[in-house]
């Protein structure tokens, strides 16, 4: 295992200390229970927006705490959803009287831990709404399964909901926007290599030099299918077509195209992917009016990419363009 870490059990706390040293102007880090919170939280009259999930997906979620995006983020152990006490304390810390939105990625663990936070109560009358993201078209959806995973759309939902909250919209409105983003977005990912969970010490799966996994999530879980390595253009098509089909996106739609790196993929490759994804969108008559290219929702050092398409209208575009000032995403401020 080649990693720039000390002891596996210390990775998350040491990362949090690094974040505290680096971004003390934007965020405060709370330990035991662990959460990252906006330096100026709580903001009176503003809906608090929080998220959480296992660590190892940086900059998500901790890197998205700050003006115009999240009010707090709860990091669990690597790839392990955080515990209810973290969500409870973070909820209290960001509550400005207008309620708190929980953005939860659809994983059994995340959903149950957020639910338990609500069940355990103790949030003293704070109104909480939870929106569960589930945009991964690689997973067949069904009433009888855990359903689709929440992946790339979560980044966009956090940005857009955060902007809506910043405009002092009500909890219901912010939650509705968040649900809308989730409903109008689809994603799919692939991996060239596995990641190594620090405490496991070896790759979660072994992938021969000439093969790739299609339909992977963000926890190093194997994908739906394994196949021979293909060209960037072919891979992009294999990700874009199911994404476009599923919503479905229709000719004339405006879209935000998000090409994401899994952590070990250099930017040069993401632009090669973006090029083809853009061309495929155009071919379908879709207009890419906004985009995001970079490693924003990662899976430790996994090499690979995921593509997210979000259908946007004017309101969503305006919220996307609104100022954001976080360690991981910043513009207009």
């Amino acid at each position: 295992m080649k990693k720039l870490i000390n002891r596996p059990e210390d990775v998350v706390v040491e990362e949090l200390q690094g974040i505290a040293y680096a971004h003390g102007d934007l965020v405060k880090v709370h330990y035991n229970p662990n959460f990252i919170v906006r330096a100026d939280a709580p903001i009176k009259g503003k809906v608090g927006v929080i998220s959480g999930g296992g660590s190892g997906h940086e900059p998500m979620h901790g890197g998205f705490v700050g003006m115009g995006m999240l009010d707090a983020a709860c990091p669990g152990a690597v790839f392990t959803s955080p515990t209810p006490d973290q969500m409870l304390e973070a909820t209290k810390a960001v509550s400005g009287g207008a309620g708190v939105l929980h953005i939860v990625k659809n994983y059994t663990g995340d959903v149950m831990n957020f639910e338990m936070a609500a069940d355990l109560g103790g949030s003293e009358g704070i109104e909480v709404e939870a929106v569960v993201t589930n945009d991964d078209v690689a997973v067949q959806d069904s009433l009888y399964t855990a359903g689709r995973r929440g992946v790339g759309i979560t980044v966009l939902a956090e940005k857009i909901s955060g902007a809506a909250a910043e405009q002092m919209r009500s909890l219901k409105e912010v939650a509705d926007i968040c649900r809308k983003v989730n409903a109008q977005g689809r994603s799919m990912g692939m991996a060239l290599t596995s990641c190594i969970v620090p405490h496991a010490g070896k790759p979660t799966f072994d992938l021969p030099e000439d093969e790739m996994e299609i339909g992977i999530g963000i926890h190093g879980e194997p994908g739906r299918t394994r196949m021979k390595l293909k060209s960037a253009d072919e891979i992009t098509e294999m990700l874009m077509e199911p994404v476009i089909d599923d919503l479905p996106f229709k000719s004339g739609d405006n879209a935000l195209l998000f090409v994401n790196g899994m952590g070990g993929t250099p930017l040069i490759e993401l632009y090669v992917i973006y090029r083809k994804a853009y061309q495929i969108a155009e071919k379908h008559g879709l207009k890419v009016v906004r985009n995001l290219v970079g490693s924003y929702i990662t899976s430790l050092e996994m090499a690979g990419t995921s593509i997210t398409m979000l259908k946007v209208d004017d309101d969503l575009v305006k919220l996307w363009d609104a100022p954001v000032k976080t360690p991981g995403l910043r513009w207009g401020a």
Binding site: G54, F79, T80, T83, M116, V197
Partner: protein, 211 residues
């Protein structure tokens, strides 16, 4: 002899040790169809319970289980944290104030604890989860107790049923939890949560053999 407060403490201690020893194994099982953390999660949780031993050393079984539950809930995370947390929470509710349990009572406790997991996770039999180990185990224990088996034998029958349930997860296609994302590819692998459930019940059978 009934299962005493001390026996329950001894069981938790033994489970902590067994999970530590099987940490790698559970991580490996979770690597195949999940995210390679089940062993680390369970080990972290039970080591934390060990850190609470002083606090619960002289408490009733209900308090012991509730403390274990809250500790798991606040240190494990993932799917197994809330699930095993609820398991012990329900066990704690059923044993509030008790200083010992008959094998009959233990069967009732285990049934309630399992019901907690099902309530929380909504898994059905054959969804390839811990429920697949626990359900036959509870059934077998209830039957053994009804048949008037000795405590040690009843616990052994319970553990054996869990083992069979655990092994029966191998061919299943997962419909709950992270393994469900794999679809057909989840078949052929043993479920990690069913395995940790079996390990707990096997440990109970061993530790309480002479209780």
């Amino acid at each position: 002899m009934p299962i005493s407060r001390n026996d329950v403490l001894a069981w938790l201690k033994a489970v902590a040790q067994v999970l530590a020893e099987n940490r790698e194994y559970l991580v490996q099982l979770d690597s195949a169809i999940g995210d390679a953390d089940h062993g680390a999660n369970m080990d972290r949780g039970f080591q934390s319970i060990m850190g609470k031993m002083d606090e619960i050393n002289d408490k009733d079984i209900g308090t012991i289980f509730k403390t274990a539950a809250m500790t798991l809930i606040s240190t494990v995370g993932g799917a197994s944290g809330p699930l095993y947390g609820t398991f012990f929470l329900q066990a704690g509710t059923k044993t509030a104030g008790k200083m010992e349990l008959t094998i009959q009572e233990w069967a009732v406790v285990l049934e309630a604890a399992l019901a907690g997991i099902v309530m929380r996770g909504k898994a059905e039999l054959n969804d390839k989860t811990m429920v697949d180990a626990l359900t036959p185990a509870v059934e077998a224990l209830k039957k053994a107790v009804g048949d008037g088996k000795f405590q040690s034998e009843a616990l052994a029958i319970c553990a054996e049923a869990a083992r069979q349930g655990m092994e029966a997860t191998i061919p299943l296609v997962a419909r709950k939890g992270r393994a469900s994302y794999l679809g057909e590819r989840s078949a052929g692998h043993q479920d990690p949560g069913a395995t940790s459930s079996y390990l707990m019940l096997k440990t109970a059978a061993e530790i309480w053999k002479n209780a």
